[in-house]
Symmetry: C2
Subunit: 367 residues, 2 copies
Amino acid sequence: MDRNTHFWVTYQISASDREDAELKAGQIAIEQSVEMPPSVVPDEARHYIGQVENLQQTAPHTWQTTLLFNKNLVDGDITQLLNVLFGNISLQPWASLVEAETSYLKTILKGPAYGIRGIRKALHVSGRALSCAVIKPIGTSPQSLAAMAGDFAAGGIDLIKDDHGLTNQSSAPFRERVQSCLKAIRQGEQVSGKRTLYFPNITTSPVRLMERYEQAVEMGADGVLMSPQLTGLESIHEIAQKGDVPLMAHPAFSGSFLVHEGGISPEFYFGRLMRLLGADSIIYPNARGRFSFSRELCQQINAACRDESGGLKGAFPTPGGGVDRNSISDFVRFYGNDVIFLIGGSLYQHPEGLKAAAAEFQQSLSI
Amino acid sequence: MDRNTHFWVTYQISASDREDAELKAGQIAIEQSVEMPPSVVPDEARHYIGQVENLQQTAPHTWQTTLLFNKNLVDGDITQLLNVLFGNISLQPWASLVEAETSYLKTILKGPAYGIRGIRKALHVSGRALSCAVIKPIGTSPQSLAAMAGDFAAGGIDLIKDDHGLTNQSSAPFRERVQSCLKAIRQGEQVSGKRTLYFPNITTSPVRLMERYEQAVEMGADGVLMSPQLTGLESIHEIAQKGDVPLMAHPAFSGSFLVHEGGISPEFYFGRLMRLLGADSIIYPNARGRFSFSRELCQQINAACRDESGGLKGAFPTPGGGVDRNSISDFVRFYGNDVIFLIGGSLYQHPEGLKAAAAEFQQSLSI
């Protein structure tokens, strides 16, 4: 098989024995390419049939297979790439997507426009991990959200994002919220003497997403937050290609791919796919929070997010989801500096208020 | 709790005992609403905190809970509705989304523009189930795909859809494919003496989807096919609201929500969500095909798709995924007439060719 015309994808298979695993590997090869019995594939399309390159047992009842797919199945369409990687086969509980050939993915996916260095440059911060706070909850007025944002900025926080559920509710309409928060943050920066970046949430209908993105940029937002599994995955790439501001990807609605035996490897999903699609900061559920990822898995995700081999920019792994403000020093030691720590509720529980919480958060990053 | 200001959502929970189930139900209520500890929710937002209405054990280690959410969490934004239903909680392997209040969903989601009656009217067919064939595979030229489509139409097939992987590949560019196929189908109709509807696949980047939809309509397509989990779920609704032609929803990339213990109930996903979002024909993996749904689950999906209570149109359940052309009569007896049977590869295996396969398929529907 010609490596110039084909790219590889690795899947994990649950199978009773080798024969069963071989059948299933062959089934993925067909399902994700021609999707019909090979005997009736017309001659002109025969070279589009997926091929099993290898199959090996990795654990009891568990096999890993590498398949080769014709690049012309995709022909540069990113949404179709996702369909070839995991479209129909998502419906088989015994299959999971492990990895795909980065050197091929990079011919289609352009990665972050800013990446770790771009965000550091915007903040003028090097040599330490970054902090991110959240303004919340839904139901709070723009004035109150702006007051929170101003306090976080005054305390010296690096980034502030909207709660990912803040869209354009009447309690805090998008334009009014973004304008109020930006103003409060710019004032807070005067107190702290440092930069704070604001990432409003632009998640909405896939068809109207770009409009909301443009509004955010026009109002002077420093970045944007979006939930790509809700807006359609390629929408990140479309926005990264615009390149006006860095973007942060939120994992809402993606969990079903990530927390069961089948699905997509979290390391590939967060560290490879989100980064190559163009996220500059990639939120994932941190160990010891409300969700179930292990610290080792988080480290694998971190490494994949930061990978700069081959010329694409590395993205900031952004662990969140119930991170306790008192655990940050521990995590910094384990994860290193190229991380954005995202803390939500725990900052609000600080007895001395948000400004003090932010200042303490900054302190814990300078170990 | 006021039923005018709140709507209900039901989740299933895996739990060790009642105490664990109570904790988890409370966790969903918070996670899907204010997403912060209730003690630090500001007064102005306290009525946005989700509430546990009831919790009951339904099987060993399995509980069902009904939660109430403030309608202002959503405020009419469909993508945000999906986020409230299953955004962050998708990351908990112990939680699955079972059902949500239809009378509330209907205030936001408008359902199919055509539905079962609209598609029957376009075809002038009543009193029997409908047939759908697929032109495939990727790699085949527009001329060959058009020849297949023409043969299917000459044999009297009701609907023809693109393989869901056909996008705009150089082997069969979108415009050329749609034009060639429509022409061949209109000629085939002269042979059969009946209507055949063509649904080209418009799936592509969420941001450019509407453009491809408009091209399809402008070229005279009779409907469109899309994979909403790839294009962003609300995109179906946007297109259904345009209302030019009926649309068929394909389940690519949705399997991880549907085939594990957590995730979303397939009955709710296909029968409720896809229909309310506006799909006129809803493809799901049929029993006895390549995928793992039981015949009973398929019947539940069928009933939910067809539901017209409350004034929204019913959609055509469209079982596919390895359906054998020889099993259709059996399925018609079990499923009844309001079904579109989707057959892919099996028609291509007919020894006498596609026209004969289509004619035989039509025959099997008239039992």
